[in-house]
Amino acid sequence: MFVQFFGGFLLNKGVVSTDQLIDAMRKESTAHIQLGTLAMHASLMTAEQIEDIRIAQTHTDRRFGELCIDKGYLTEEQVNELLATQYPKYLLLGQILEEQGVFDQATFHKLVKEYISENSIAEEDLPLEDGETIISLVKDYCSDLDSSNKEYQLEYLQLLLNNLIRFIGSDFTLLRPVVRSTSYPTQKFAAQEITGPYQVTSILDMSEEAAIQFASRYVSEEFTTFDEYVQASMEDFLNLHNGLFNVNISNSYSVELGLQPPVSGEKDAISGGQYMYIFPALFPFGVVNLVVSEM
């Protein structure tokens, strides 16, 4: 799940534009991680050494690994180990951006180190993306939000990330959350009230074009126009997410929450709660906003 936060980290650092990030995300499914990226990440090679090998590759048709061994940058054992090791997915996103010339190898190296250090990610956790580190990332992500029920908000957000990955796809970046105390102007939306001790209105909101792509992925069927099935897909995702949230809360805290039937609409200014928290997820097809309005 680190990749969903890495994109946001790069945007916040101002080293990529939204368009560059979307472009790189679109290439993720067909791109392959390179040995140089893995060696850089494992601190076995410097940016200069990687560049040196790349230049050498322009004069010969030999493989990257072979040249590294020849030049003494890596042993054969290290090459085999690197190729067999699982790697965190954000490395691939960074590599694509580097290949596109958005930043150079040295900056890429520096950014990865900063990302790991800022988020206190232990090296051994990287391939596994363990639960505790993800919880810590989610906590950091919403640390500025003054929720009336922080614990439930964290559970809600963590489940949302899982459900987006599970039902829509992992190719998104979580943008900075936004807090509003006034009304929220919607585009195409589905809304559903959670009732009980954690009383919130949840809203899934996006542009018409994004909704069509969102529904196509959710149902695994190609939609081309915004119709009742697209609308129902948004409602269905929200209802499913909220239903699973209620199950988790019931299992973890023995607290029973209720759900109202989802409703749909467009271009409404939604107000109601004391605060509205907007969690935007940037997919290659557009931004999916999940708005949580606390009563």
């Binding site: 129902a232 499913l240 239903g243 209620n246 199950v247 029973e256 109202q260």
Partner: protein, 123 residues
């Protein structure tokens, strides 16, 4: 009874959920469907049509699924009602079974679960 002869009532406010259920059941050979978009309509269509099996959501407008189960069971204690809901908490499960539902499926709708239930009730 053969599945192709069975009258199947689907009570769900989501047109998508109704379509997904119909697609799965059609692929198994079912052809006779009745649809209802809320709990009230489900009860009314049950009384009017006497279907052989009902797939019923819980979170619905006008009348929720659990209330609909109670009213249908009061009318016909042998009614075959399968709850299909996103809220599979122990309490919801208990309420549904106590009300008279025969089974409970947690959404997202899984074809294998539907097939397993259908295979115990129809040929």
């Amino acid at each position: 009874m053969l599945l192709k002869d069975a009258k199947i009532l689907i009570g769900d406010d989501s047109i998508l959920a109704r379509k997904q259920l119909k697609d799965i059941l059609s692929s198994m050979g079912a052809v006779r469907f009745i649809e209802a978009v809320n709990g009230k309509e489900t009860v009314e269509k049950y009384i009017a049509e006497k279907p052989d099996i009902i797939f019923l959501d819980i979170i619905m407008p006008i009348k929720d699924g659990i209330t609909a189960v109670k009213e249908i069971i009061a009318e016909d204690p042998a009614a075959q009602i399968i709850i299909v809901s996103s809220v599979g908490t122990q309490q919801q499960l208990k309420s549904a079974i106590e009300a008279g539902a025969k089974d409970f499926i947690q959404k997202p709708i899984n074809a294998e679960q539907i097939k397993a239930i259908i295979s115990t009730k129809f040929d």
